[in-house]
Amino acid sequence: MNTPHNSPFIDPAFLRGMTRSRAASRRDVFRLAGLTAAGLALSACGVQGQKKAAPKPSEVAGFWSGKQKNGKVVFANWPEYMPEDRGPLKKFQQETGIAFEYLEVIEENASFFGKSEPQLRAGQPLGYDIVVMTNGMQFARMQALGYLVALDHKQLPNFAANAAPKYKNPAYDPNNTYSIPYTSGLTGIAYNTKYVKEPITSIQALFDPKYKGKVGMMADSQEIANFGLFALGIEPEKATKADWEKAAAKLKEQRDGGIVRKYYDQDYIDAVSKGDVWLTMGWSGDVFQRQLAGEPVAFVVPEEGGTIWTDNMMIPKGAANPVDALMLMDFLYRSEVAAELTEYIQYVTPVPAVKDLLTAKAAGLKGEDKKALEAMVESPLVFPSEADYTKLHGYVSPAQPADQEAFQGMFQAVTQG
């Protein structure tokens, strides 16, 4: 969901299924009807639910006891989340002798979960030892369905030592039972300074008829819900069902007024940098990368509030090399490794020591490189100040299935009308 400009946001396999001709002859239809009845009789069992409670410490210890490192780790991540030369992973291999396989296979939480879910339900391994998912509804489903391995924190000393307190024990995963953060980012307003001449500060700009037809919003329910709630002055974490309804009504009014041009996925960043939309909901790292590329885009966390999300590393059930996975996860929490990652990813790092490391590095550089790195270290998009953090809120995360359905229904009625 939160990766910089990756375009194939629709799973090709799904596309093929959707676009294939479904023609059949008349006789086939009758035959199909007969077979369908047979299929009903055969597969009348339905899909079994597997809702799980949080694991007991003894269960966690039991899982990890006797587990050894295997010398191999498979890391499934989002595009542009690791330097091209795979530097940090190579260092890891040199030091530990663990061979890595790094795959950029996650492009969207929903489609990744949608594809993985049947396999995990059937008890088959995904073939990945680490996967990275955002703290949204799909991650919650992974936890609730028992598709994740509870982490052994005794083997994560760097995380314990180096992660900032606000990145520990998050509401979406108490005690970091299943996950530790990979990187965080902010959802705010991205705008094109060629077309928008005033500085944007308030979320109301997204609802301003002055920008009719030139406003982009996000298609994701959790993202857009937060902005509807901010516009009404409601904190997402404290919002009630009645508040969701009010937010959905506010967003529908914005849509019906012709203010919204489109509900975007990752493609918003191209739309705003080309000028198809002038201002839009956006993700901090995307905008920062475009700024460095010299494009006329700016990013602001609105004074009413912005969203902070976190992409998290986790071990899926059935992973073949869990110990190696833990070792790699912990390795990425070394300050100097985290600094190398942050310099490339340009989102928010959970390791505060990175700021000093990069400042020191910038001091040793010259010319353009020095300026670029200094700009990054100074940027509130990469290193938000404490004042910035007070404006940042998590997603609305309904826990009950009925509430999830109601929530999705309300906001999808806006984005998919």
Partner: protein, 287 residues
């Protein structure tokens, strides 16, 4: 003994195909039909309750997008037909020795992935892009003119993406028309128009039918063009099915919508076959 073997041989030869068909078509369809009648949710599981109301609920909730998809698919198909027939006619009768080159040129863009081509249209048609940017600065177009995020963009994208699947079957049908039949029409004092209307057109109808079949069905179900080129209020049923399946993990609703779409398309196609007056048009098209 030998005769018995000869009698069994065709069945044995067809067997792998039938097994393939059974495993990869019949079983998934039957499973999907079964899932479409279940109730529940991803966390608590889905139980088979033969809940036919899933269909009524899904159609009630998404009839707007369903009807919109049929209108988009139908409009695109008509435009494709109007564009494709003259092209196919020209290649078949005037193409001469370069026929295969023209066909190759027609297919050339389709060596690029479907999604990429659609995204490229997004770049070409950008509000201040390489096409509209200069026209706007020259004052030939109003500043707020845009094509992206409109019905026109989505229908245009559908038309572009499926056009060859309309041209090719019509071309094949026209290629099969015996020139002597046309000559005979002229010998019987038919004008060029009458010869076309009474001889060439009827003989090409199986190709038209096949073309419509191969374009209307995928165009109506397509989720890509609406997603990439559309705006608010252009969501098609394919997008809804994708969201229901991937985002909401509401497998029963997604399955029920898929079956509804399939049923609507089948009914439409058989009604169309009837109206063409060609009872065996499917077989004719398959020839």
């Amino acid at each position: 003994m030998r005769r018995a073997k000869a009698a069994v041989a065709p069945y044995l030869l067809a067997l792998p195909a039938w097994i393939w068909f059974a495993i990869f078509f019949v079983v998934p369809i039957a499973a999907m039909a079964s899932v479409s009648l279940t109730t529940g949710n991803i966390l608590e599981g889905f139980q088979q309750t033969l809940s036919f109301s899933n269909y009524a609920d899904a159609v009630g909730q998404y009839h707007v997008q369903l009807i919109r998809s049929l209108i988009y698919g139908g409009t695109a198909t008509v435009i494709m037909l109007l564009l494709a027939y003259p092209v196919a006619y020209w290649i078949a009768f005037k193409g001469g020795r370069r026929k295969s080159m023209y066909l190759f040129l027609l297919l050339l863009p389709f060596f690029v992935s479907f999604v990429l081509r659609t995204i490229s249209w997004g770049f070409l048609l950008a509000d201040d892009g390489i096409l509209f940017g200069p026209l706007k600065s020259a004052g030939l177009l109003p500043g707020d003119f845009h094509v992206l995020a409109t019905d026109v963009a989505v229908i245009g994208g559908l038309t572009y993406n499926f056009l060859p699947f309309m041209v090719l079957p019509i071309y094949v049908a026209l290629g099969r028309v015996d020139p002597r039949v046309i000559e005979a029409a002229y010998d019987l004092y038919a004008s060029r128009w009458a010869a076309f209307r009474k001889v060439v057109l009827p003989l090409s109808l199986p190709g038209v039918f096949a073309g419509v079949l191969m374009t209307f069905v995928p165009a109506t179900a397509d989720p890509v063009n609406a997603r990439v080129l559309g705006g608010t209020g252009n969501t098609m049923i394919g997008n809804i099915i994708q969201t229901e399946y991937m985002t909401n993990n509401d497998y029963p609703t997604a399955s029920a919508l898929s079956f509804t779409l399939m049923a609507v398309l089948l009914v439409g196609i058989f009604a169309y076959a009837r109206s063409l007056g060609t009872e065996n048009v499917l077989e004719a098209a398959a020839r």
